[in-house]
Amino acid sequence: MALKDFFKNRQLKRAAKLHQKQGSATAGNISELKAKSAIDDALLCSLWTKCQGCNELLYTSELKKNLSVCKKCNFHHRLTAHERIEQLIDYGTFVEINDDVLPSDPLNFTDLKSYKERLKDAQQLSGVSEAIITGIGNINNQLVSIGAMEFQFIGGSMGSVVGERITRLAEYSTEKKLPLIIISSSGGARMHEGILSLMQMAKTASALKRLHEEKLLYISILTEPTFGGVTASFAMLGDLIIAEPEARIGFAGRRVIEETIRQKLPKDFQTAEYLMENGQIDMVIQRQTLKQIVSDLIRLHTQNIKKKRFSNNGSDKTIFEKILARL
């Protein structure tokens, strides 16, 4: 499609956007959060992407090169879990673990559609088996455990698999003395697994307790959007908490709060910057500098300890090789 056609169609598409795709699926927060998705545009025109911040048309390839951050308005577009890993982990060093932990349907849950169907659809749409990818890899030659959530998978909702994969990742970190990084993006708990999804909050927090007792570093990275049971468990337990600019982060969804308190909320409510002002996070970091800063922070948090404890225990490299050999 030519550029001029795109411009002509812009108004039509905006209208179409109001009747967005079918239903969200996590506890409360997602339906409103999906409004910003740009998949319609992407399908219409894969060469060009309309910026969700300023509506400008951007070359998709250039946008990707800039880590999906708009050069005009600095809007940070959503990334897939795989893109997250690619942007943070040294090329070729990521090894996924626990990808054999797969969802089931413990409650035999059906709403307008069965949960089983939803899972299949989500797997097809997102290309991943669940709402988080976990594994190990290097960040500027420093071995870490890393998890990245996939919002396209039923709104990044946390069910048994997300809980189990994070728990295993944290346990792995504890065992191997590795820093842990989790990039969150989620609407909350996955209703279709009922109370079991709620319990994942306790499970992940408990695993992080053991990591904490071992004095290992956990950096939590919050991205647009992070809500509900995810924020209220592992995402808010980082030793360091970093958010991307303008990412919306909170416990309750905006609409629920507005209904409860019967007043409009300020525009910047629940943005990364709002959280910063309210003392809830350490930093708001541009995506372009995220890898370098995370890498620096890992170095700064491990170099003193290394000197004391690991001086004769071999380098990270060796540990990494051992782990790879075992896998």
Binding site: A189, L198, K209, G229, L237, A252
Partner: protein, 323 residues
């Protein structure tokens, strides 16, 4: 046919009310009339018993939700009063607010000091303004956290009573980091070496309930419910209409029985017939017995074993496949 007249009936209890009224009227007449009517009264009473046990036996999940939310249901302070000779309430998070939707304090059971922490609803509008309808703010969870650590320091077992629609979804609550307050409680509760017993007494409202519910034993009153989201909220999101609340309540598996079958709940504590509000004394006795039994078991463990017991329990929650 003595029934506590002050109890407000629920929808599904209406047939009982009608029958009860009929019996009363007949009984009054009986005094002046013939013996034949006495037989009728007896029959009606029999009928009443049958209907009653049928009604209460076949309560749907949504009926249980209604009982769990009954405005006359006993709350934490009611149970505390009945199970302990002493009660010293401890207040505040030490940093700016005493959130009264969560209470905490010291009780004594069999010569053992126990820390009680629980959500607390009000009985009327004024009380509910104070108690925020049992919906805690971050400061409430931080008060609870302070008391968890206090209990850990002084070797006091912890019992939590849970009956909350959920953590308060308000502007101030978000500004004060509701998420972090809950998350930190989950983490810290999991690391305690004193026994923790949680009792869902009414509504177990999602993360707001779990924040004081990471325990060695999770007990549920017979008519209590515990859910990741309210049936109304779930229906609105997944079915796109609150009309489907019944369906959502069924699908979510929220009753004590369901959760027992799912392995979340360790024991279902029986209530008095019709619900705890019909006989708080009886229900309190059942609660006290349950506490005693579980406490006795847990106090046999070493502190490290207590911690491991809880962490193992939490670790195994979740259902997934591994090929």
């Amino acid at each position: 046919m003595k029934e506590n007249k002050e109890i407000i009936p629920l929808d599904f209890e209406k047939p009982l009310i009608a029958l009860s009224k009929q019996i009363s009227e007949l009984e009054q007449k009986t005094r002046t009339l013939q013996n034949g009517n006495k037989k009728l009264v007896e029959d009606l009473k029999l009928q009443y018993s049958k209907v009653k046990s049928e009604i209460y036996k076949e309560l749907s999940p949504l009926d249980k939700v209604k009982i769990a939310r009954h405005p006359q249901r006993p709350y934490t302070l009611d149970y505390v009063e009945k199970i302990s000779p002493v009660w010293y309430e401890l207040h505040g998070d030490r940093t700016g607010k005493d959130d009264q939707s969560i209470i905490g304090g010291l009780i004594e059971i069999d010569g053992q000091t126990v820390m009680v922490i629980g959500t607390q609803k009000g009985r009327n509008l004024k009380e509910n303004q104070k108690r925020n309808f049992g919906m805690p703010s971050p400061e409430g969870y931080r008060k609870a956290l302070r008391l968890f650590h206090h209990a850990e320091k002084f070797n006091l077992p912890i019992i939590t009573f849970i009956d909350t629609p959920g953590a308060y979804p308000g502007l101030e609550a978000e500004a004060k980091n509701q998420s972090q307050a809950i998350a930190l409680n989950l983490r810290e509760l999991s690391g305690l070496t004193v026994p923790v017993i949680s009792i869902i007494t009414g509504e177990g409202g999602s993360g707001g309930a779990l924040a004081i519910g990471v325990a060695n034993r999770i007990l549920m009153l017979e008519n209590s419910v515990y859910s990741v989201i309210s049936p109304e909220g779930c229906a609105a999101i997944l079915w796109r209409t609150k009309d489907k609340t019944q369906e959502a309540a069924n699908a979510l598996k929220i009753t004590a029985k369901d959760l027992y079958e799912l392995g979340i709940t360790d024991e279902v504590i029986p209530e008095s017939e019709g619900g705890a509000h019909y006989n708080p004394d009886e229900t309190s006795r059942n609660i006290l017995n349950a506490i005693r039994n579980h406490l006795e078991e847990l106090l046999k463990l070493t502190p490290e074993e207590v911690k491991k017991d809880r962490q193992d329990k939490i670790r195994n929650l979740g259902v997934f496949s591994t090929n």
